[in-house]
């Protein structure tokens, strides 16, 4: 009889966490959480493009920290960001098929000045104020500030904005040597 009671007590202890609500986050826990969000945010590319489904990089970082979002949803970050997030969060590397396949080429927006009507819609859409312009005045992209997020392309009523490869410092990197001893399977 005692043995049976003991076993039931042990089972109850083991299964209890499944049914009890988690305790309210302590202030120390929320500070840690905020720090984690900042650290995740510092790894994201800050294009604020919304391709992950969240309203910007910080909301996405908050969602990852809260366990509500996957870490494979950021195309501008490319596989480099995925890997850095894996390392930060202590996750084991996923099969390469998950997440963005390649780091996207750096692009900047370009306005065709012959078509621009000065409607200011793109100026309002840019999350980093990389477009100079006022109503009725020519709009210009500041290439050094542009992150290539493409949020300005859709609002333009005359489709005068395109994304072109970023000029300036070469994007070429030395490739990693390919080892022939890798598994052939």
């Amino acid at each position: 009889m005692t043995a049976l009671l003991l076993v039931c007590a042990l089972l109850a202890c083991a299964l209890a966490p499944m049914f009890l609500r988690p305790p309210a986050v302590s202030s120390r826990g929320s500070v840690r959480q905020a720090r984690l969000v900042s650290r995740i945010d510092s790894l994201l590319p800050q294009t604020q493009c919304g391709e992950c489904g969240f309203a910007g990089c910080r909301p996405y970082a908050e969602a990852i920290a809260g366990g509500k979002a996957d870490i494979y949803l950021c195309p501008p970050g490319g596989p480099v960001t995925v890997r850095q997030l894996e390392q930060l969060l202590g996750r084991s590397p996923a099969h390469p098929a998950r997440g963005p396949a390649a780091t996207p080429a750096t692009v900047v927006a370009h306005i065709d000045e012959d078509l621009c009507i000065g409607c200011v819609k793109c100026v309002r859409a840019c999350p980093v104020d990389a477009i100079l312009g006022a109503a009725g005045q020519m709009h210009s992209i500041l290439p050094a500030q542009c992150t290539g997020c493409d949020l300005c392309v859709a609002p333009c009523p005359v489709d005068c904005i395109t994304l072109v490869p970023a000029a300036g410092k070469s994007q070429w990197q030395w490739p990693r040597p390919v080892s022939t001893m890798a598994a052939t399977a």
């Binding site: 030395w174 490739p175 022939t180 001893m181 598994a183 052939t184 399977a185």
Partner: protein, 341 residues
């Protein structure tokens, strides 16, 4: 369309390959094997062939299973040297199944379970040797008798018979104790070293016959040093460590403890110093680290020989040294140029 490969400097190479290193090591073992053959008969050659064949077969199977290119991996010759060294540590009269099990363990668990060439933590030959030593101590203890002291060295058919159809009487007819075993058991009977040494089992320095093999291993080791295949740090440190331990004990009581020369004139010590402890994959990498590593193994081997229950403690000493190598590496990293020292 694949991009043409980007080629980086340097555009020259000194010309050494892993296979070249392995071939030189095998060549340096040849004199010792010949002396072994001469004194103790063809048993050693049979063991070598058996071990090498098993090693190659095991590695080929495992590579196939892992999906790695077989010809490239086997082509580097490292597993052949593993088999050879293992066979040379075992007695020439070891039953075939003991050799087989030792080799399979060495290649499969000692090497490939860690990831293959360059990834193993423990010396595969020593891992295999210790495995069979712990599991099957009796067959491992059958050493050939020295020809002058007892029966002549077994011939080819006799050796084949002993190895492949091990019947107790046949084995006993040709076996005796190794010099170390002899010394240990007689010391255990409270006899004095000087009395024990007068037994015809012993030659000028160590066991009769065995000391010649040890000299041959020494010659091979020096050849490797001269060729630049190994550096002097590990052999020198190992010999120094072992000499220290045996020297101090001998100086304390020459009747109970054998002289350092006796210990160094054993094939185990010379093979260990120049061929086993110098295995680059499992040893420390910096020169200072190698000195520490060699001394550690030498001291441990000396201590285990004197106070351990097994006659030869080099295998255990090497394995312990292997386990310590990463820590040794971490604390003996050279000072980078320009860093305040």
């Amino acid at each position: 369309m694949t991009e043409p490969m980007v080629i980086s400097s340097p555009h020259r190479h000194v010309g050494i390959t892993v296979r070249g290193v392995m071939v030189r090591v095998a060549a340096a073992l040849a004199p010792g094997i010949l002396v072994y053959l001469w004194i103790f008969g063809p048993g050693v050659l049979i063991q070598c062939v058996l071990a090498m064949a098993t090693a190659v077969a095991t590695e080929a199977l495992i590579l196939r299973w892992r999906g790695r290119p077989i010809r490239t991996a086997l082509g580097d010759g490292s597993v052949i040297v593993t088999g050879l060294l293992l066979a040379l540590c075992l007695s020439p009269l070891t039953p075939w199944w003991v050799t087989l099990m030792a080799t399979v363990f060495a290649v499969a668990l000692g090497k490939h379970a860690f990831g293959g060439l360059g990834q193993n933590l423990f010396n595969p030959a020593m891992a295999g040797f210790v495995f069979v030593l712990l599991c099957f101590p009796a067959p491992m203890n059958k050493w050939p008798a020295v020809p002058a002291a007892g029966a002549p060295a077994p011939g080819l058919m006799n050796s084949l018979g002993v190895i492949f159809v091990p019947k107790a009487e046949a084995v006993d007819a040709v076996s005796g104790a190794s010099a170390l075993n002899h010394m240990k058991s007689r010391l255990g009977l409270m006899e004095m070293v000087s009395e024990i040494r007068s037994d015809p089992v012993y030659g000028n320095f160590g066991g009769r016959g065995w000391e010649w093999i040890a000299m041959a291993w020494l010659a091979g080791g020096v050849a490797l040093l001269v060729l630049g295949v190994i550096r002097w740090h590990i052999p020198a440190a190992f010999i120094a460590g072992m000499t220290c331990v045996s020297g101090i004990t001998w100086l304390m009581n020459a009747d109970v403890y054998a002289a350092p020369v006796f210990h160094l004139a054993t094939p185990g010590a010379m093979l260990g110093a120049f061929f086993i402890a110098t295995d680059p994959v499992t040893a420390a990498t910096s020169d200072r680290g190698r000195l520490a590593y060699g001394v550690l193994i030498g001291i441990l081997a000396g201590l285990l020989r004197i106070w351990g229950i097994y006659p030869d403690g080099i295998a255990f000493a090497v394995l312990i040294g292997n386990a310590c190598a990463p820590v040794i590496d971490r604390y003996t990293q050279p000072r980078v140029l320009g860093v305040a020292g």
